[in-house]
């Protein structure tokens, strides 16, 4: 059976030649949640964007391949690639405000996409959207569908976006820090919703986050990223039980604990950072930029 998503040895560079992704390999099995964890700037979001085919134009993939359900994305024509990505993937974005078009009502925004992706009629799409809104516990779909994005709260908007992401039954959802822009009280509800819908629909999720607490709650597999390099990869349970890489251990130590709220925050240790820098430098030394 094909992996839902398989990334092999993926490297991407900026125009100045600096690598932002350093030979990244990872896979997401069908129905599995893989967390991508790391500090900001570690390239987590970049991987998500690469999969969805929306990398910024300055970033160029120079090596490696990505397979979506066995189809090599790099070997497809741009148009076929767009269609495939559109049909099989969806995004739950970080900022639920800018991810909705401010000048269009929620209803048409959501149905349009279903009509586009699945070729459904408007009525069928509408029924489906209402069903999904119910699943994300929106109790007054009529009002929500008629609203403009700014008329809804942040949590509501994120529910709408989650519903929209699951509506077309994608095989893979990229969730890009979906709880970061939300209130702490809402974060938990949203996380639960994503987990519940994920189980029910059996959708694989590539879950980008910097929050190890979230990782523990939602994922089965974890990849720890530093400077665009996967430094550790493991089952979530195994990772939390016995982190192998010093960086992972430092990250875990840096997570504030509720049990000891007055303890000072611990940054990642200097020695660990020095070790990481050496590791990255060694990897870059060994890496030869492929021609073409």
């Amino acid at each position: 059976m094909n992996a839902c998503l398989e990334i092999n040895n993926l490297s991407a560079v900026l125009p100045n030649g600096q690598r932002v992704l350093r030979s990244v390999s990872l896979s997401v099995q069908p129905g599995e949640v893989r967390a991508l964890v790391g500090e900001s700037g570690a390239g987590k979001t970049m991987i998500g964007k690469a999969v969805l085919g929306v990398l910024p134009s300055s970033v160029r993939i120079v090596e490696g391949d990505m397979k979506l359900e066995g189809e090599d994305l790099g070997k497809l024509q741009p148009k076929a690639r767009r269609t495939l990505i559109g049909a099989r993937t969806a995004l739950i974005p970080q900022d639920p405000l800018t991810a909705l078009n401010p000048s269009r009502r929620i209803g048409p925004q959501m149905t349009d996409r279903l009509v586009r992706i699945l070729g459904w009629g408007g009525e069928k799409a509408d029924t489906r959207i209402r069903q999904l809104l119910d699943e994300v516990q929106i109790r007054d779909p009529d009002r929500v569908l008629k609203s403009y994005p700014h008329e809804l709260s942040g949590g509501m908007r994120q529910r709408v976006l989650i519903a929209a992401a699951f509506a077309a039954e994608p095989r893979l959802i990229v969730a890009d820090e979906p709880t970061t822009a939300l209130d702490v009280t809402v974060q938990k509800q949203i996380l639960r919703l994503i987990a519940a819908l994920q189980r029910e629909h059996g959708t694989a999720i590539l879950f980008v986050t910097h929050d190890l607490g979230v990782v523990a709650k939602i994922s089965q597999k974890v990849s720890v990223l530093y400077a665009g390099k996967v430094v550790e990869e493991a089952d979530t349970v195994a990772l939390f039980a016995a982190p192998q890489h010093p960086y992972t251990r430092a990250l875990m130590a840096a997570t504030p604990r509720y049990t000891d709220p007055f303890a000072s925050l611990k940054p990642v240790d200097e020695a660990v950072l020095a070790g990481l820098a050496a590791e990255i430098a060694a990897a870059d030394q060994a890496w030869r930029r492929p021609h073409g």
Binding site: V54, S57, R82, G86, Q94, S103, Y148
Partner: protein, 280 residues
């Protein structure tokens, strides 16, 4: 913000819209509402003052000029040309400028570089001189005036809409639409365009005001339409000559021009708020 102004029913919208409607209706039905024939000369009635001064004649509300022509009627008929130029030139400039601006802002890259350079070069010309030059080349007449204004002022739309489209294109909803498999042109029209419409509307109204002024300037230097038809700029030019004997011949056209231009810009601002779902 109170409820009335949120709905866009602000005094600003009422006053500006009211004046524009009045002036527009008067211009459309000019033959019916004008008290006199705007071209009829009568030297017995030269330089009659407006109605509240001594020596005014009934039926000549705003007085007459040095040839005895009724000022109010001339203003009303002049409005026909002013509005025709305003609508035609502004819409033409808007279509060209907004389209290019949208393309430059959304597609970026080479399209943006080429369009932006053209705009820069275009804007290096002093606009009024450019207009006079264009009309001199195209020949006088209503359509040349409209064409000249459109040719000069499309850059105004292009620059603003480019900047707005650029900002919108970076929004996540555009990215989301790309992921869903929409094509670039589809996204530009479906997702980006609706978000720049409020600005287009405001600019369009503003541009109508500007077109009225440019037309007045061209008439003032006798480069607008060549016939004897009265125009606001032409009236101002005539009034200037007799300012010491009959100030009203200058003042009333000036007031009309100022009110109209001001109303267009205020109306545009008010409409923008009304069209924008976030501000509404």
């Amino acid at each position: 913000m109170d409820k009335a102004s949120r709905r866009g029913l602000s005094p600003r919208l009422w006053l500006a819209g009211g004046w524009l409607l009045l002036a527009l209706l008067a211009a459309i039905f000019a033959p019916l509402v004008a008290p006199q024939d705007p071209l009829a000369q009568d030297l017995m009635l030269e330089r009659l003052p407006p109605f509240w001064l001594n020596g005014a004649e009934p039926g000549y509300w705003l007085g007459t000029d040095s040839l005895g022509r009724d000022l109010l009627s001339r203003l009303i008929f002049g409005g026909r040309i002013a509005f025709m130029v305003a609508f035609a030139a502004a819409i033409a400039a808007c279509l060209v400028g907004s389209t290019l601006g949208l393309i430059a802002g959304y597609f970026g890259g080479w399209a943006d570089r080429i369009i932006s350079r053209i705009v820069d070069i275009w804007m290096a010309f002093p606009p009024v001189l450019f207009a006079i030059l264009l009309v001199a080349v195209l020949g006088t007449g209503l359509s040349s005036v409209i064409l000249a204004i459109a040719i000069i002022d499309w850059t105004r739309f292009c620059r603003v809409i480019r900047a707005e489209a650029m900002g919108q294109s970076r929004m996540d909803y555009v990215e989301n639409a790309r992921i869903a498999g929409y094509g670039r042109i589809g996204i530009m029209l479906r997702e980006v365009l609706p978000n720049v419409v409020p600005s287009i509307v405001a600019l369009l109204s503003l541009e109508m005001g500007i077109a009225v002024i440019v037309e007045a300037i061209l008439s003032f230097v006798n480069l607008s339409i060549s016939t004897d038809d009265p125009t606001w700029g032409g009236l101002i030019a005539e009034g200037r000559l007799s300012i010491h004997q009959a100030w009203w011949v200058l003042v009333f056209p000036l007031i009309t021009l100022i009110l109209t231009v001001l109303s267009f810009s205020q109306f545009g601002e008010a409409l923008k708020t009304r069209f924008d779902p976030v501000l509404r």
